[in-house]
């Protein structure tokens, strides 16, 4: 049980590639922190730096009050769950879970007690004598978590642990991981590229892109108030609509083809406007700030809702509007898209940051 702190952590590989470019954040005790970002954003490298599987180029990693930069992975008091489970194929489930404890010189009786406890928590008591290859993917994943639990570490590190599971099992294991982490109260860092996993699992979200942090916050904060266009389009499905608008001398916003969109800004220079599909409507909306005309390009009925692809103005951009229930306007139908003032996100066109 401890907080994990990162101070200006950088990682430059031998070839000169800078995978992590100075990252600082603190994961408070007992918090479930999710590192999320597209592949190649440095999130896995960051986790491996915390685990000690890669050496830190500069900066500090602290677990509890321990500066662990120069400690071996086994001395950092962490446990890691890997994407491909990384179970020892020749050892039984019991031996897999006991191996780390055995190497630490834990007494046989204590090992036995801890392994049986963990097996009970994870409902794998019946498989203790089996070899990993005799287990299904979900069961292997449990064993991998069991191996982490028995160690009673200061922190759990998860490296995309659900990516090898099928969709149904993934949802189920996601819920279990969340419950387990709550019950055990162990500080956890979880790496994923799946924004849905990130939203549902985390107490705290760290969105990464290109080796730097784009935004840190609770899932709902990040969702409701994205700090950049990257975060805006990465979190949420379908993603937030982001399109360029120009600002004239009076602060009135208009699309590239001159269509005015109703909203205003005192920003100097061009803007990117962000609107979540679920905050938009094609019905009447009293007091709407964003008002733009357009034409239906396509309707995608999903059952409970319909995704409407609408071309704004005369020539674009195309945006997605999420409509409740069924809507069946044929392509080409003129519509007016509206949104409330609170739903409009404005980003600087050059930097992509919120203004």
């Amino acid at each position: 049980m401890a907080e994990v702190r990162l101070n200006g952590v950088r990682k430059v590989y031998a070839g000169g590639v800078e995978a992590v470019k100075g990252v600082s954040f603190t994961v408070p005790d007992k918090t479930f922190c999710v590192l999320v970002g597209p592949s190649g954003c440095g999130k896995s490298t960051l986790l491996r730096l915390v685990a000690g599987l890669e050496t830190i180029t500069s900066g500090d990693v602290l677990i509890g009050d321990d500066r662990v930069n120069d400690k071996d992975p086994s001395d950092r008091d962490i446990a890691m769950v890997f994407q491909n489970y990384a179970l020892y194929p020749h050892m039984s489930v019991y031996e897999n879970m006991a191996y780390g404890l055995k190497n630490r010189g834990t007494s046989k009786a204590d090992i036995d007690k801890r392994v049986k406890e963990a097996a009970k928590i994870l409902a794998i008591e019946g498989f203790l004598n089996r070899k990993p290859r005799q287990l299904s993917g979900g069961q292997r994943q449990r064993v991998a978590m069991g191996r982490a639990i028995v160690r009673q570490p200061k922190a759990f590190l998860f490296d995309e642990p659900l990516s090898n599971l099928d969709a149904k099992l993934r949802v189920q294991m996601r819920v279990e991981i969340r419950k387990l982490q709550r019950n055990l109260g162990v500080t956890s860092i979880y790496v994923t590229h799946d924004q849905l996993e990130a939203m549902t699992l985390g107490d705290m979200l760290v969105v990464m892109n290109g080796g730097v942090i784009e935004q840190i916050g609770s899932p709902l904060e990040v969702y409701a108030d994205p700090a950049s266009t990257f975060v805006a389009t990465f979190i949420g499905s379908p993603p937030m609509n982001v399109f360029p608008v120009s600002v004239d001398g009076a602060g009135i916003l208009s699309l590239a083809d001159g269509t005015r969109v109703g909203a205003t800004s005192d920003h100097k220079g061009d803007l990117l406007l962000g609107l979540r599909p679920e905050n938009l409507t094609i019905d009447d909306l009293p007091g709407a700030t964003f008002v733009a005309t357009g034409r239906v390009a396509l309707m995608e009925p999903l059952g409970a809702e319909t995704l409407a692809y609408i071309t704004l103005g005369t020539s674009g951009p195309e945006i997605i509007v999420r409509l409740q229930g069924h809507a069946t306007q044929p392509p080409g139908t003129p519509v007016t898209v509206r949104a409330a003032a609170s739903a409009i996100h404005r980003f600087d066109a050059k930097t992509g940051r919120k203004v």
């Binding site: 599987l53 086994s74 962490i78 890997f82 020892y88 020749h90």
Partner: protein
């Protein structure tokens, strides 16, 4: 569908492969049968043409003589008893096989799992020696062995043959299939290099080791040129050397019945190794356990 229970699926002409197999077996087994028959006949019976193809009554006489006394030409005994030679061959083959496996396991482990300076260079050095069979470097090697005073000893017989590029290469290929995550999981579980080797790598290599053992045992057992050069002492003769000596009798009469008995005896241990380890052998060559 084909081959379901009770109703065997037999395509037209299914007997053709059976005939081919049967003919193959006959062609392969016939010389062995002739050798066995010859080893049960007297020299006189063998020299009659055509030689009879049914065993005679000399089996015990010939085989006992070969095992206990040894063979030669024209009544002179010029080899050690075959039992002694079998033992020599066995020890040599075992030491070579086990030695090669131990050395290659360790060198492959070093090459794959450690970032030593010049790692690639070392690997290529080892790999290049694949192209140099024993025969190419046999004279310099003999000089070294002779300078070290290892002529006419088991050490001289085995040590120079122990280094093995082939086995190192095979272990390297196998080790490279071990996922990185497994190595990392072991690191987090507190297994240092030695523990990782004995707890993880060695158990995972079992089938590869077994397959290599079969190949290397037979390789060692069949050595001819090297033992011929290094040993002059009759008591260190291997069975392959003994066999050659029995035939090359410098003008005397070759006792073909004894030669055949010796040859069959020399066949036995490699055959046993293959039969006993067949399952492991196949597993080791085809399966990469993950």
């Amino acid at each position: 569908m084909a081959a379901s229970t009770g109703d065997t699926y037999r395509p037209k002409g299914y007997w053709v492969p059976h005939v081919v197999i049967a003919v193959g077996i006959l062609i392969t087994a016939f010389p062995l049968w002739v050798a066995f028959v010859a080893s049960t006949l007297t020299l006189g019976q063998i020299s009659q043409a055509p030689m009879q193809l049914w065993p005679g009554d000399q089996f015990w006489v010939v085989w006992k003589d070969v095992l206990e006394v040894g063979g030669g030409g024209g009544g002179r005994i010029i080899t050690a008893p075959v039992s002694t030679m079998m033992w020599n061959s066995f020890v040599m083959a075992m030491v070579i096989a086990v030695g090669k496996i131990v050395i290659s396991l360790m060198s492959a482990y070093a090459i794959v799992f450690f970032r030593v300076p010049f790692r690639t260079f070392f690997f290529w050095m080892i790999f290049v020696t694949l192209m140099l069979p024993v025969e190419v470097r046999i004279i310099p090697t003999l000089q070294v062995v002779s300078d070290l005073g290892m002529l006419n000893s088991f050490a001289g017989l085995t040590v120079p043959l122990i280094a093995s590029a082939t086995a190192t290469f095979m272990f390297r290929q196998f080790f490279m299939t071990i996922p990185d995550e497994l190595v990392e999981a072991a690191k987090i579980d507190g297994a240092g290099p030695v523990r990782f080797f004995f707890d993880i790598v060695l158990p995972l290599s079992r089938t590869t080791i077994a397959a290599l053992f079969v190949i290397l045992f037979i390789y060692g057992w069949n050595q001819y040129l090297w033992p011929l050069l290094v040993t002059t002492n009759q008591n260190l003769d291997t069975v392959v050397i003994g066999l050659a000596k029995q035939i090359d009798t410098a003008g005397g009469v070759t006792e073909w019945n004894k030669v055949m008995a010796t040859a069959l005896l020399a066949l036995l241990p490699p055959m046993l190794v293959v039969i006993l380890m067949q399952r492991w052998f196949v597993k080791g060559l085809v399966e990469t356990e993950k």
